[in-house]
């Protein structure tokens, strides 16, 4: 499951880019409703990763932001909708600036923590550390969404995120507190609220996205998944994974100014997830990790080929509306804190 979230991170706008296209040159049995396709080859990703690794290593890690931009670009360029590739505009320079700022911020936070600890005020120190790190989360989500979406485009039109930081903070505050008070139960509602808010403020030029989920439904689905997974000694986990994936995709829609909309629909099955995840695990274990790139490509293909587009909206009629946002600080901060922002 951890590896599935990395797919979200590598797509232009998280889950919503669970979009795929009819692979014209493929002889697969995909329907014309499948309009997203992933063209990348494992071998090519492997080369990109090795080059990145080499440069990062030689520069003692300094190259990391550039490597990150390069590998993100690779994923975007190889993802096509109706035969047209996505594009990632982010640059290593931007990410490096953001990286330095994010690092500076973390140094200050940990510096104060260490200072307080040396003053024998451990409790205050821990409160400070966890307090600031948790308080940073909405800023990270907000900033990352703005950055990643603004730096993503398709057919020359940029994506964008128009959420309001104050609203997001309120949402996180309410959701976080209720989750704490209800010992985690409210987490399902919180997750759906957050997703609805974030995706609801996502733009592709003049078009927008929407997510319509229900906390109760999501909670029951996860409760059922949890217990069945335990009862079946983990086997049901693949079907649980399918349920979550489908819940994300089936409630997602793309809305256009003329009132037309595209409803996304997943065709993923539990058996499919079983083959994908077990296959990838074996692929990685038996190659001692070298098969990682091929596993990534299998994952991308699987996701993209299992999303259908229902509706007849005109994708040619979208107009450029979004401004540029080049500050990668929040995105890098999320990366440094190992925090998967793209829900």
């Amino acid at each position: 499951m951890a590896s599935l979230t990395s797919v979200f991170a590598n797509t232009p706008f998280g889950t919503c880019v669970y979009l795929s296209r009819p692979p014209i040159h493929h002889f697969t049995m995909t329907s014309p409703l499948t309009r997203l396709s992933f063209k990348g080859k494992g071998g090519d990703l492997f080369i990109v990763l090795i080059v990145n690794m080499l440069l990062t290593f030689i520069t003692l890690g300094l190259y990391y932001p550039w490597a990150k931009a390069r590998s993100l670009s690779w994923y975007y360029e190889n993802l096509e909708l109706d035969g047209h590739p996505f594009h990632f505009h982010g640059t290593g320079n931007e990410m490096f600036k953001g990286f330095i700022k994010a690092l500076g911020l973390l140094v200050v936070i940990y510096g104060v923590f260490i200072f307080l600890t040396f003053q024998k005020m451990e409790v205050v120190g821990f409160l400070w550390l966890f307090g600031t790190l948790i308080a940073l989360l909405p800023f990270i989500i907000h900033g990352s969404y703005r950055y990643r979406t603004s730096r993503s485009s398709w057919r020359g039109i940029h994506f964008g995120y128009r959420g309001d930081l104050k609203e997001l903070i309120n949402l996180c505050l309410k959701g976080g507190l209720l989750t704490l008070v209800t010992l985690g139960i409210y987490g399902a509602w919180f997750a759906i609220d957050l997703r609805t808010y974030l995706i609801g403020h996502l733009r592709y030029g003049s078009s927008r996205f929407a997510y319509k989920g229900d906390g109760m439904e999501f909670f029951i689905m996860n409760l059922k998944g949890y217990f069945l997974t335990i009862i079946t000694l983990g086997i049901y986990g693949f079907w649980w994974q399918r349920d979550i994936f489908n819940y994300y995709v089936d409630n997602l829609s793309w809305e256009f100014n003329d009132g037309k909309r595209i409803q996304f629909k997943s065709t993923a099955t539990g058996g499919g997830f079983f083959g994908l995840l077990v296959g990838n695990l074996l692929l990685i274990i038996f190659t001692l990790g070298i098969g990682f790139a091929w596993a990534e490509v299998r994952m991308m293909r699987f996701v993209m080929e299992h999303v259908e587009f229902h509706g007849d909206a005109d994708l040619d009629a979208v107009v450029q509306t979004e401004l540029e946002h080049k500050d990668a600080t929040a995105d890098d901060l999320g990366d440094l804190m190992d925090f998967g922002i793209f829900i």
């Binding site: 590896s3 990348g40 990109v48 090795i50 990391y64 590739p85 594009h87 990790g289 990682f292």
Partner: protein, 372 residues
């Protein structure tokens, strides 16, 4: 190259793609003809022109945000375009490296792998040793104190025997750079340890089983070498450098790779830990000799530890940092032979040794009544 090719054009205003004709003129500019007959020029040398090449596509973009974009899939065009960019110095290190890697991926991979292995085996330990030199000695002492303080409250220190051990310790000079502070702790474990900066803790479980002052000096010399040679700091530096190396390497990679790599790394750290133990034995024996104590004592001490370790199931001791006692005994025996017997035996030790041992003979049960 006067040939005209088809490309996809996005004008940056709408999402509608257009199929256009592109020609590169000898004047280093590109002419783009739109389907409706409109045409415009694109200067190739202009710094506002950006290009990116992927495995099967060339992407050119131009102007301010929103940029106008051309996508070219014609292989011949891409090749000649890249050559043109190389001649005008606009082919970066990354693109050169990537196209080099794409021409011979297997050799490139093996080359990088070899480089990384060499880095891990040689450059990393070298860097870690440099790192240790940067850490001042006083920091070792502060770390040691900071660790010992909370530890002391959980251990039952035997103050009388601590005094006796300190008196014993006065007769030998084991660490030129650090002031050693000995502690005797009432504990059944057959063990002893040293903290960075000079705290050396001996458990009564080990002390009681010792049969000669030479064994005790061997133990203290071994632990003092850990302090003197800053083994904890070196382990720490090694561990940190290894961790950094791994996180540089596998940064975003999969959890399975991370687990495999971390295990491999910690196995290596353990083997480094064993090397440090052997070093502590050998240097400790030299210190013994310099203090007029028979280095053979180390062999006896190790035998004693071996007997105790034999009581543990094999599985438990195999991977720890004090195993392979057989090898250590063999090495210590050879070293003792090489050093020979000291010319002027340290006679003063025996008296302190007897004093230390006499404390042991008091039955523990009597202590509460004597307090009353």
């Amino acid at each position: 190259m006067e040939r005209s090719i088809k490309a996809i054009y996005y004008d940056g205003a709408t999402s509608r793609p257009q199929e256009v004709d592109v020609t590169i003129s000898p004047l280093n500019s590109m002419e783009v003809v739109l389907p409706n007959g409109d045409r415009f020029q694109w200067p190739l040398e202009h710094h506002g022109m950006q290009w990116e090449r992927t495995a099967n596509m060339l992407r050119l973009s131009f102007g301010e945000h929103p940029r106008r974009v051309l996508l070219v899939r014609d292989e011949l065009f891409i090749k000649s375009f890249v050559i043109r960019m190389r001649h005008s110095g606009r082919l970066g290190v990354y693109d050169r490296l990537l196209s080099f890697a794409r021409t011979g991926p297997v050799f490139f991979f093996l080359g990088v792998a070899a480089l990384l292995v060499c880095g891990y085996l040689w450059a990393l330990p070298w860097a870690a040793e440099r790192l240790v030199l940067l850490v001042p000695q006083s920091l070792d002492e502060r770390i040691g104190d900071a660790v010992y303080e909370p530890m002391a409250s959980t251990m039952n220190e035997d103050s009388e025997r601590t005094e006796a051990l300190r008196a014993f310790g006065k007769h030998v000079a084991l660490s030129p750079s650090y002031e050693l502070t000995y502690h005797v702790v009432d504990d059944e474990q057959v063990n002893a340890f040293a903290l960075p900066g000079g705290h050396i803790v001996v458990f009564t479980g080990l002390l009681d089983r010792m049969g000669s002052p030479e064994e005790l000096v061997a133990l203290l010399a071994h632990e003092a070498t850990h302090v003197e040679e800053r083994h904890s700091t070196r382990m720490l530096a090694r561990g940190m450098a290894g961790y950094l190396f791994l996180s540089l390497l596998i940064g975003d990679a999969n959890a399975v790779i991370a687990v495999i790599a971390e295990h491999a790394n910690s196995m290596r750290n353990m083997s480094y830990g064993r090397n440090l133990e052997s070093e502590a034995d050998a240097v400790g024996q030299e210190r013994m000799f310099a203090n007029g104590v028979d280095p053979e004592g180390m062999v006896n001490l190790l035998r004693l530890l071996e007997e105790q370790a034999a009581e543990l199931p094999d599985g438990l001791s195999f991977l720890s940092s004090h195993p392979l006692t057989k090898d250590r005994i063999a090495n210590a025996t050879a070293k003792a032979k090489e050093l020979g017997k000291p010319m002027e035996p340290n006679e003063a030790l025996h008296e302190s040794w007897n004093a230390l041992k006499s404390e042991q003979d008091q039955p523990l049960e009597e202590i509460p009544s004597s307090v009353n």
